[in-house]
């Protein structure tokens, strides 16, 4: 007898949810404890009900499936269900429990659920961090960042960020509306933000180009940037080179 799996469906289309539920009828060991039609309610439900398994769509209102994964506190097993095949499927197949391309067959679906059981039996964990690392979509420019602080989820357009500062394992995003802490590396932001708009001027700082008010010599060979909001930011030697080539001076 298989142990019972408590599952949540996060999917914005009713028909797609119906299909999942119908497929699950033949697998009584999987019990649906919740259904969500958008990313926000998905995060809330998963953190509160702590399911064993989540069927997750990628394209959804409010938050995408990827963004949802990034801010989860509780990490269940994930089976993606999506019509998008371009999101690094191969990397996925190695890391998420499974990746179902719509439309998918009953057999394919059963297979995915079996994989969950298999992983649980062997105790082999696929940490979510591992998965999201591969979904970094390095070919795609970051257009927004999702941050969770306490109960509040904020979606920040990259155009709102004035500058970023490294803080241990986190990065602090400074916006006109306030500051937000995000668990990512400076390297991640450096490679995903539009290099025409953002320049890493220092090991610990990335600034948005159009926020730079002026730059001045601080000590011999070291410069400092003054932002329009009067913040001062140090510039390293390599940072200066990047600024020079980026801003053409």
């Amino acid at each position: 007898m298989k142990s019972t799996l408590r599952a949540i469906i996060v999917e914005d289309e009713e028909l797609a949810r119906n299909l999942l539920k119908d497929y699950l009828k033949e697998i009584p060991s999987v019990q649906i404890i919740g259904e969500c039609a958008d990313g926000f309610s998905g995060v809330k439900a998963i953190n509160e009900m702590k399911p064993d398994l989540v069927f997750l769509d990628i394209q959804m209102p409010k938050l995408t499936g990827f963004e949802l994964l990034e801010i989860l506190e509780y990490k269940p097993k994930i089976i993606f269900t999506t019509a998008f095949d371009q999101f690094a499927i191969k990397a996925f197949e190695l890391n998420a429990v499974d990746y179902l391309l719509k439309p998918y067959s009953r057999e394919r679906f059963r297979n995915a659920v079996d994989k969950v059981y298999q992983q649980m039996k062997t105790g082999q964990e696929t940490p979510i961090v591992e998965i999201t690392k591969h979904i970094d979509r390095s070919d795609e420019r970051l257009e927004r960042v999702v941050v969770k602080s306490g109960k509040k989820i904020s979606i920040i357009a990259t155009g709102e960020i004035n500058y970023l500062e490294a803080q241990d394992d986190y990065v602090m995003l400074y916006c006109s509306s306030g500051k937000y802490l995000k668990q990512k590396t400076m390297k991640y932001f450096e490679s995903h933000l539009d290099p025409k708009q953002f320049i890493r001027v220092h090991r610990s700082f990335i600034v948005r180009v159009d926020q730079i008010h002026r730059m001045e010599l601080y000590e011999k060979d070291t410069y400092r940037i003054h932002l329009k909001n009067e913040t001062t930011i140090p510039v390293s030697k390599t940072g200066l080179k990047k600024l020079k080539s980026g801003l053409d001076f």
């Binding site: 009713e14 797609a16 039609a37 209102p61 019509a83 719509k102 979606i155 357009a157």
Partner: protein, 349 residues
Amino acid sequence: MHPILKQKTSRFYFIMAWILLTAIHVLVLNFFYHLEIRYALVDGITFDTILAVIALGLWYPVKFMQAGESRTLGLVLNYLGVALLTIALWLTAGYFIVEMILGEDNEYIPFLDQSMPWRVVSGTLVYLVVLLIYYLILYYSDLQEKIRLEANLKTLVKESELNMFKSQINPHFIFNSLNSINSLILTDHQRAQDMIIKLSEFLRYALKYNQKEKISLQEELHNTHLYLEIEKIRFGEKLRIENRIPEEYKACLIPNMILQPLIENAIKHGVYESTETVTISLDAHAPDDFLNITITNNFDPEQPGRKGNGMGLKNVQNRLMLIYNRSDLFSWNIEGTVFNAELSVPYEV
């Protein structure tokens, strides 16, 4: 910008050419005319330096005349005038400077007087050579510019063709629709069948798509509605459609599949990104000799970023440009939480 002065290398070659010319000048005077070396040096350096400055300055009349005068006779006369002026200037200035440096009472001045006719001849030659060089430079940069423009144009055409092909149908739309059908088969045969028929009819239309062909607004609307009804099966109450296009315009001809990318845009940024009901409305009016069609949709304002790449809108613009050769037939704007796209095509039935 001056073609010789703007680059380090051309400046270098110019100076080298000048040094060479001056050196030959001085040596000829010294060896063949047995002029004392100090006289030869003053003569060579003075006259050649003035000549160098004049040669640089000649660029401006060349540039000016290339832009203005086009008749051959006019050009020749103009250049003759410039030649007379510059050579006269050159010789007079040279003469006075040399005289100032060396004084009037010496064996050099009679030589200088005697050599004047030859200086006119050599000055004319240098003048012609300089003109020739400037014309070559102009011709070469023109050619480069043309090649660059042509290459740009080619990539632009290719890109827009490719993008149009891609924008015909969004593959995710097909796969998501198939998934919905898969679900309906289990619960509602009738609607499943309905959706398959609609999807097939829409796909058949989209595959026939031709960049320049025109069809009646009636037919385009029919196909747009097929698409919208399929999306309505997927999204249910979340999608509302209001068609306010008057009957009288339905016979007008418009490019085929021109509304499709706009509707798709409205769905993508409105319905896909929102949890509330999104209304897409279609309107038309025909002032003057144009048929204006507007498509509006509301969207969730709390969706920072993810604005897409605007490819769909750009394609509409490009196609109207391709067909009507005008770039002012398409516009869009955002007012609060409403997106508004408007296209106008010459009124034809």
